[in-house]
Point group: C2
Chain length 355, copies 2
């Protein structure tokens, strides 16, 4: 049984429990997870079959990637074609991804296939995806290796005059050269006070002596992502940087120790946040501790202040506290981890500063 | 008046006509268009004010990019924060983007702010965005220039052994070097039979003598995109390629002549399609003729078989017919055009093969 058909089989068990006849897959990563197809389309999973609605732009991919799905090439829009399919089925209970289907697409479907009962479903495939199987873990390991090798290469090449954009491009190149199929997101490179932006976009700013250098990047291997952040200084470290860095690192280590199966995500976040909030930088860790990583670079589980999710073996999550001081800069340190029965196992491994 | 406040002023006139008290902006490009803010958030536009709900990750950007908006930093989720805002307003008629708000977000909003009447709205800001103002046209012109200069540079560098991925990376670099802030999408590079995939993703395939080389790329300047495709051959042209290329070029020129204000998009598409469908390659043009380009690389108007939209001066659209023959390869030629009262004005200008 292929990975995809195994996943559909799992989903079908859930469908039967919920007395649903079929499940409509409109989210692209969920579609890939369940069918292998990497293009745009709509999937229909039922206990007896898997159907893929796409269009002729993806003729080659559909045949190669989803050999065990019935493929329908839409003549009009995918949604229109799917509505016809559903209307032909007549009375049925069809689950749909309520977080991925827009209000207007839902309305159109409900009008065009009025014999079908559309049942909103949240996070079912996302829940399956949160626990990675061996093939997935192997791909993520390779994606983690790629970024762990690539970041030190570009850090070693830092030189007067290089811009954030040039370094970001160089990092992309290094990620491809170390074996990535792609980057998992546009590499973030922020110099000096730009590093205070938690989601900085690389600019034409040239590096200057003494600049903080924050690098947040990931590679993609076989569709799976990695995500890692390191912060260094171009030149001499100053006292304030050392203090901030050590605080972030302590926060990260506190969280690391708490990442075990059964831990509540909010409590893991609290471990890191407490370290920062009992330092002079109280309140300057302005985002969540981490997130799951897989086919998407941001997926479940979420590790935030209010996350009630319970961690489980087989999850892959980031641990990325940071301190951001507008006008000065920021330090973020991020590791990608596999949750195992023995605790968290780091997948990324670029060196930290020996402070 | 800034561009953004002028756009909000236009939107407000429409709100008043439709007796809406406010408009909820959840689409990211629409948010940028109306506020200048480039991060994630929710915007609220009313005749009297503009409010931006985001979070502390975007503290710096919010202040710099949206100086004339009231900024609220959400402590929980953006949607939750917005629901509180809406609940405080009490009774009101609030338009929402029904194509961008998910079924479940709509449901949550309706529950949390039950005094508000949520009115589904389609394509209003998209309609505004379809007609570009002078600042926008200037940015798109530069983005078009960037890709027009960059593609010939990499075509001239084609050499035995280079892979699709390497060429795609090289093209990205050339786009940045010619003045692009970024690429507008991952550059598509397809060799040989891979060019039959209308949406090919660059692979590790190495170029071989006689390969078709299809390059589809765009640059970004000040947030605005360009989009252009050229197809060449690495080595000698053969008879079949020449025949296919000429047919596509004729189709493109037929469409070009038809792109004038007042033309119905489907009829423009038909001009190109007829050329291909009366050739030996009938039915092998498996996608729409083109699309609008602006803050998004795909936006309105759509130029397809069934598009009833009427073209207007100030629109920026692509004209990109193609012929795809699985197992052999494909040829696509794409120009970016500004619709003017005098007809279509090409913005991209990389040379074609002199066939």
């Amino acid at each position: 049984m292929s990975s995809c058909s195994r996943r559909r089989h799992e989903l079908s068990k859930w469908l039967e429990q919920d007395e649903l006849d079929l499940f409509i897959v409109s989210s692209r990563p969920n579609l890939r997870y369940l069918t292998g197809f990497t293009g745009e389309g709509i999937g229909i999973v039922s206990p007896s079959e898997a159907v893929l609605i796409t269009d002729r732009r993806y003729e080659v991919e559909a045949g190669e990637e989803a050999p065990d799905c019935q493929v329908i090439f839409a003549e009009q829009g995918h949604l229109q074609q799917f509505a016809s399919y559903l209307a032909e089925l007549g009375q049925c209970r069809a689950g749909f991804e309520s977080q991925h289907l827009s209000y207007s697409s839902h309305k159109k479907l409900a009008e065009l296939a009025d014999a079908a009962e559309l049942v909103p479903v949240e996070e079912v495939v996302e829940g399956q995806r949160a626990i990675k199987d061996d093939t997935e873990i192997a791909a993520i390991r390779r994606a983690a290796q790629v970024v762990s090798e690539a970041v030190p290469v570009v850090v070693a090449e830092l030189a007067v005059g290089i811009t954030e954009r040039e370094l970001s491009l160089r990092l992309r190149e290094a990620i491809l050269q170390t074996g990535g199929d792609d980057v998992s997101f546009e590499p973030v490179v922020a110099f000096g006070e730009n590093s205070a932006r938690a989601h900085a976009v690389p600019t034409q700013r040239k590096i200057a002596e003494g600049d903080i250098v924050l690098i947040d990047a990931g590679g993609k291997v076989d569709g799976y992502c990695s995500d890692m952040t390191r912060t260094v200084v171009f030149g001499e470290l100053n006292k304030k940087f050392i203090e901030v860095y050590k605080t972030v690192r302590q926060a990260q280590q506190a969280a690391l120790a708490a990442i075990v199966p059964g831990a509540v995500a909010a409590e893991v976040d609290a471990q890191a946040r407490e370290v920062i909030d009992s330092s002079p930088y109280k309140g300057r860790f302005g985002h969540s501790l981490g997130h799951g990583v897989g086919l998407e670079v941001h997926e479940g589980p979420k590790l935030g202040k209010k996350s009630e999710e319970v961690l489980a073996a087989g999850q892959v999550v980031t641990n990325e506290p940071g301190i951001y001081l507008p006008g000065w800069g920021g330090v973020r340190l991020e590791e990608l981890l596999l949750v195992t029965e023995q605790g968290a196992q780091p997948l990324t491994y670029a060196p930290y500063l020996g402070l």
